[in-house]
Symmetry: C2
Subunit: 666 residues, 2 copies
């Protein structure tokens, strides 16, 4: 019987959330709730009590929240995270003999049974606790116990027995005999709010020069900050800014040979001028980079840096650390390949190297280096082609000292792999949104992201396009398609981003039948007209402003799809945790034709009254409509307004905040 707590009768099991049985932390941002539930019970008919215990790992003592029975032996409680870093939580439960006694004596008294002996039993329990509690309460408890020992009329004593004051004292000071402690410490990775709510703009710095034909610089990028900030973005993501390899450099449209003046892909990192800690000289100096970061801060923006742990053949690592790479029998270093395709301009790191510990330290030092230079967000390129164990270790180590640092996982791969990357610590994840087009596809995917365990650890970041992907939904499509995809991304997900200049301009030409841009910026320098304002630009500004104004849009968890009698109308409500702010979005998925139909507002779920008229206020146009009951009519034309974003102004919701309205300028 060694190791058995024979007298502990309370059972605690199936504690949720617990990712892979607690192997991985769940994720929250500061201020978010952690709702914990578990099956808790004991043998027999005794009453039990249970408490949720939680603390920041830097705290020594547990905080305690009483748990409540939900139904069918499922108990629940919640706590709020207030600090970045890691929290731990677990559960304690015990057979509550005093509560059992209270329950029994009430029943017996009501049935007219003699309860003198029962009162003596209660008195004994109270006296036991009295010894432990403070002086003032001790006297009170002793007094109650004495009355039970010499009862007057039973009714008075039963009143004392059941009094909230006594219950409270017995709960607080009663000894939790043979309590069961759930054996696992479950963890929460708490990050800053930006992890949950962020708006990304991606551009290639080298394409930002004022003059056509010139190489853009950090200074040029800095000039664009006011514009991008005014559009409502708060993260500016730059592809790698390091020296670009010269050996096997790729040319225009991924040509295997580059002309002498071609700039190469920024992801082919490293040449004789340096590697992952160096800056491509044509972009400027380290000081210029620092100046860019400083200016971004002025505009409440952050620079997100690309972390692509791979090397060009002339990266210094290749000669300094040949043991980190695979070598072929012909003496050459093994380049990346997916046979029969070859990517000779990129050398993968061999994570099975015997020198893996030094490799890991060096790669982490790259991240540390840029953190010291002020970078707090990293977009990680293809994390799924590097060892999972490395990321898990690296992210945890970095966050120990710098919990504010965020990592976005750029993995478009198989579901289990994308999930694992999120579990091992990435703050945000690219998703399949880019390829979810029909209403059914979107609903099914969003339900997976928001209503399954995935919601606990994966924060989606929706991208309608990237430099690698011109999806079918945008290829050869007009502005309405771009605006529709933008609105879907920006309203469904609180984190979203666009590969900006080509999106704003509505570029839609694919390269030779592939899902890629023709004349991709990955291989050449472009010159964009940053002063141009398209309809798309206008929609971006509007939706970003609404995202900033409404809490309901600043999270991805609270989402409900609505019934519609027209499959081309995607309707959903997003709401804040209190369900006091309701934003009802209707998007016309048909980017060519007007679509109309009836959508159902589930009044009962939001405790809204039936039979009364209420106002829905379209925040995109300022128009107000009077709706009644559940089913209401909408009509959307792609060229006029591809979507409604209604603020529901319904009576029982007393929301003091004036709704923020973006007025349309036709």
């Amino acid at each position: 019987m060694k190791g058995i707590s024979g007298k502990s009768r309370a059972i605690i099991e199936h504690v949720k959330p617990a990712i892979d049985n607690g192997e991985f932390p769940i994720k929250r941002v500061e201020g978010e709730r952690v709702e914990v539930t578990a099956d808790i019970y004991c043998d027999g008919h005794d009453k039990i009590k249970a408490v949720l215990l939680y603390k920041h790992i830097k705290q020594r003592k547990w905080n305690e929240v009483p748990m409540h029975l939900i139904s069918n032996d499922r108990w629940g409680a919640y706590f709020k995270t207030t600090q970045t870093g890691w929290y731990e939580y677990t559960i304690q439960a015990w057979v509550d003999h005093f509560a059992t006694w209270q329950h029994d004596i009430k029943r017996k008294f009501e049935a007219g049974q003699h309860i003198a002996t029962e009162l003596l039993m209660g008195a004994n329990m109270i006296l036991e606790v009295a010894e432990k509690s403070s002086t003032k309460l001790t006297q009170k408890l002793i007094g109650w116990a004495q009355q039970m020992q010499s009862p007057i009329d039973f009714q008075s004593e039963v009143n004392i027995a059941l009094s909230p004051e006594l219950s409270e004292q017995m709960y607080r000071y009663g000894h939790r005999s043979n309590a069961t402690m759930y054996p696992k410490l479950l963890k929460v990775q708490v990050e800053r709010q930006k992890a949950l709510f962020s708006t990304w703009y991606e551009l290639f710095p080298r394409s930002t020069a004022k003059e056509k034909g010139q190489h853009g610089t950090f200074a040029d990028v800095a000039h664009l900050l006011p514009r991008i900030s005014a559009l409502g973005f708060d993260v500016l993501y730059l592809p790698p800014v390091h020296p670009i390899g010269t050996k096997f450099r790729k040319g225009k449209n991924n040509n295997v040979k580059a002309a002498p003046d071609e700039p190469g892909s920024p992801w082919a990192i490293g040449n004789k001028e340096g590697g992952h800690k160096a800056i491509h000289p044509q972009l400027g100096s380290l000081d210029d980079f620092r100046a860019l970061i400083a200016k971004a801060q002025e505009y409440n923006m952050e620079i997100a840096m690309d972390i692509a742990f791979q090397c060009s053949p002339d990266h210094p690592y290749v000669t300094e650390h040949p043991e980190w790479f695979k070598w072929r029998p012909d003496g050459t270093v093994q380049y990346a390949e997916n046979p029969p395709k070859k990517y000779q301009d990129i050398i993968p790191i061999n994570f099975e190297t015997d020198d893996w510990q030094n490799l890991w330290r060096e790669l982490k030092s790259v991240v540390d280096y840029w953190i010291l230079e002020g970078v707090k967000i990293f977009r990680v390129d293809n994390p799924h082609t590097k060892a999972f164990a490395f990321w898990q270790w690296m992210i945890a180590e970095v966050k120990k000292d710098a919990p504010e640092v965020l990592f976005l996982s750029e993995a478009f791969t198989r579901p289990r792999i994308m999930e694992r990357l999120a579990k091992i610590g990435f703050s945000q994840s690219y998703t399949y949104f880019t390829w979810r087009n029909t209403g059914e596809e979107i609903k099914e995917y969003l339900i997976e992201l928001t209503s399954t365990e995935v919601v606990e650890y994966m924060r989606p970041n929706f991208w309608p396009n990237t430099p690698d992907i011109l999806p079918v939904s945008l290829e050869n499509k007009d502005e309405p398609a771009f605006i529709t995809r933008l609105l879907l991304a920006a309203t469904l997900s609180s984190n979203y981003g666009i590969y900006g200049p080509v999106f704003e301009l509505g570029l839609n030409e694919a390269y030779s039948g592939k899902e890629e841009y023709n004349q991709s910026e990955k291989y050449e320098i472009h010159h964009w007209d940053w002063s141009k304002e398209t309809k798309i630009t206008d929609a971006i500004r509007k939706v970003n402003l609404l995202r900033k104004g409404y809490k309901a849009l600043q999270q991805t968890r609270n989402l409900m799809f609505l019934n519609a009698d027209n499959a081309q109308l995607l309707a959903f409500i997003k709401y804040d945790d209190d369900k006091t702010e309701l934003i009802l979005t209707v998007i016309n998925l048909d980017t060519n034709n007007q679509q109309a139909g009836w959508i159902q507002v589930p009044l009962y779920l939001f405790h809204l009254p039936y039979g009364e008229a209420y106002t829905v206020h379209d925040l995109m146009t300022g128009n107000k409509y009077t709706w009644k009951d559940e089913w209401n009519y909408v009509m959307l034309h792609p060229n006029i307004a591809p979507a409604h974003m209604f603020h529901l102004e319904v009576n029982p919701i007393h929301n003091p905040k004036q709704p923020l309205v973006v007025n349309v300028v036709e």
Copy 2:
């Protein structure tokens, strides 16, 4: 990086089955399969291999089964259990560089690339393995490697590279560099076949006397064995056979006072003549009990003993071990109660006693005592009112020395509690079947039992009635209701039982509006006419014979409900693991009226041909019908035949076994 296997890139997760993440064993009987699946993958594009490892805990070395990719990174394999006791299983996976090389060289060769360097890489891998393998193979491997080092025409070398013989050698002797071992050892509790397939008959020995007014004895029970065995039962379950308490003894119909000549409830165990290891003198001696067990063996039957760990007030434990009970301030021992109800004839054991270790040892010694006397099956009374930890320890300890011993959990309580009892080791469980009446109720419940994780650890035992329960489905009902409930229990579940004499006789009178029998045998001695044969008796004999003849009915896992256009017709197929034996049962749930309708045979699921006629052979009547395609017509009258039990004689099934037919004698 302490404790991190930095070079292990293969991930193994979500291994199933694993009850509560492996905290509890799954259950099997000898010969049953354990199908194991897991998500297995690595970073990047390398190929992986995975093996399922398993062994009986008494074995030292692992057995190994290659796993196969099912889809979407899910892999699977299975093994068969052949021995009772416990098995362990886990998974090993690794990046298979040789398989990756094979995959790549094939692609490159097909694309016409130069592969001389690739062949050198393969030769190196082969030579590395050659050093480790046996002499004969070493030569062969070296030969192949040498040819790759000096290729003739590439085609020959690629043929060698991809040859099954080389693949086999590299798999067998190749070193599993940086293999990942799943960190948990998952367990299987393997029991004898009876755990899965058993047919129970319950009777009160004291009601078996030949003469009315006499107290039945073990010898009287022995006289009934031929009859009960001939009905097809293989377990005879007896309520407690111990001395019955005299203090606060209950009278007829649970009267709080017993008349001097009333026998009391057998569950009020213990008096001055002894406790749980003693025998009630009126039933006979220990030798008589041994004789009963011996005679049961002759009839291929077993005696199941009742284990009810509670005491009457005059049980010897109460004076010998007062510390095992709760005492009231008035000096009396605490009786069982559920306020305001009192059960003064039963004293619960206090599992929170400080002396719990001695208590546990003593209770286990009761089980050990009867095992030595030849009892191998225990029906445990109300296990949910005793500490779970005790059962878990006791069952595991008993099974270490006597894996053949089975425990049936008699808990009719809340779902989580019933599940836990099954998880902690009970071989079989009473269920909610007793209260599942409509087709929807039955389907929903059976799907829970057979198609969720519950199937891995809980073996249902279906009881249409018990001495405690005369359910609504039988109260004031006629024979067809009894036969319907019998057939449901006997066909849906491979373990089932009846509280026999009252069931055979169709007794249906409840006591004062309760779900209990009037004049329950629990409180008085009855005298049954054992020579009487009812229609119910006839149905019992038939269905039990079919259960013995058809494997499909000897397990509860392989069950599929069929569509029917009449909700009163419950239709389902049970099948053996190979899906070669198909038993299609249709039961008319309306016990008053004839019901007819169309039912659908899902031909595609059983690989049966469309468009051909096939024979369905009613094993209850001997009638044969010709069916075609999926939808076929049935008609059942409760007074003629409340059910069909069809053996499907369909062409592609070559079943040499002659179907066993029970001929009806009208």
